[in-house]
Subunit: 186 residues, 2 copies
DNA sequence: ACCTGAACACCGTTCAAGT
DNA sequence: ACCTGAACACCGTTCAAGT
């Protein structure tokens, strides 16, 4: 049970988070933390107190995502579509979410296999969502033998990262089709 | 025809490059440029004169890679292996090369589709090497219809980027197998 | 033509002083 | 307990002075 925050602390915490969401949307997750503090109207020390690392700040913003990503996974399963369509839809939704802020995808790639990262837990939640989709299709015998959910997650996150990093805004669909063909039973 | 460099300029240029290779190998391509200048025994302005951006410096170091990557592609084709083995070997060699310095893979992902990047030309050379392997297999009817070499390049670079970014040193093999299965004719 | 190194701007991080 | 803002360290970039 975390004890409740003092009123002014809670106010600053929320203000920083709201500002970070705006700034990260505008200029990506590598924006100046100083600017976020300034625009939130707090001292740099206050931001640092609440979020000791940039990853901690990104992590706090990811809360919404993980919820939606989880919901998307279950929604995909519920459609009952054939494997190819289900996976393509799920992957595209997943990528849409984790590329909401520029630079986030590659941070997720890094955090995914790093238990020391503040973002690790949320990466696991998303990994479990993906695991449900993969398991569902695997149980239906629709996948190649030996497909590993964790590797699928890494691959799709990699695609997201490439699309996110790319200067041109390229279509992820063709890449996802290759991945899907590599997963579903031929 | 670029006019020859003055002797002292050439000496500094080479010294900076040699030092950068060492530092990038030790700490990756996001190391401090200041440190490179110091260890090379030149002023920061000298480094900046020869390499106006970090990408220009990485680009200069990539020369060796593109040569080897090109050679590897032709060597892979020459083996005459079946599609799966040939692609796996080629991809692994390619990844080994572009992850030689940490952070290089993601820079390559970014430069690949950005003609304004100093690294663009060398990315194209590597893309052409990959194109030769893909074309060779496609001509032999070993690939799925509609496989696009540029997308394969992006995917494999993405895998490299994920492996490079990852805190754990994970095996790229399982991911590459998925990609290969998505490319070769079922 | 090229090099040097001081100077500048920017940014993350710390911490003493204040409430 | 929390905030502020000055101070610090670090780094990329510029440029005047020198050869």
């Amino acid at each position: 049970m975390p004890r409740p925050m003092r009123a002014d602390a809670k106010r600053n915490y929320d203000k920083i988070l709201a500002t970070a969401r705006i700034v990260f949307t505008e200029r990506g997750t590598d924006s100046s933390l100083d600017e976020i503090a300034k625009r939130a109207g707090v001292g740099p020390g206050t931001l640092y107190r609440h979020f000791p690392t940039r990853e901690a700040l990104v992590d706090a913003l990811m809360q919404d995502w993980t919820d939606r990503v989880s919901a998307d996974a279950d929604a995909a399963i519920a459609t009952g579509q054939p494997a190819r369509e289900m996976l393509l839809g799920w992957f595209e939704h997943f990528i849409d979410h984790i590329t909401l802020h520029r630079g986030a995808a590659s941070k997720i790639c890094a955090a995914m296999d790093d238990p020391a990262s503040p973002m690790y837990r949320k990466c696991r939640v998303m990994g479990e969502a993906n695991g449900r989709v993969i398991d569902h299709l695997d149980a239906g015998g629709q996948l190649r033998p030996g497909v590993d959910a964790a590797n699928v997650m890494r691959l799709v996150s990699g695609v997201a990262s490439v699309a996110d990093t790319s200067h041109a805004d390229l279509d992820v669909r063709p890449m996802l089709e290759v991945v899907v063909d590599g997963i579903v039973r031929g």
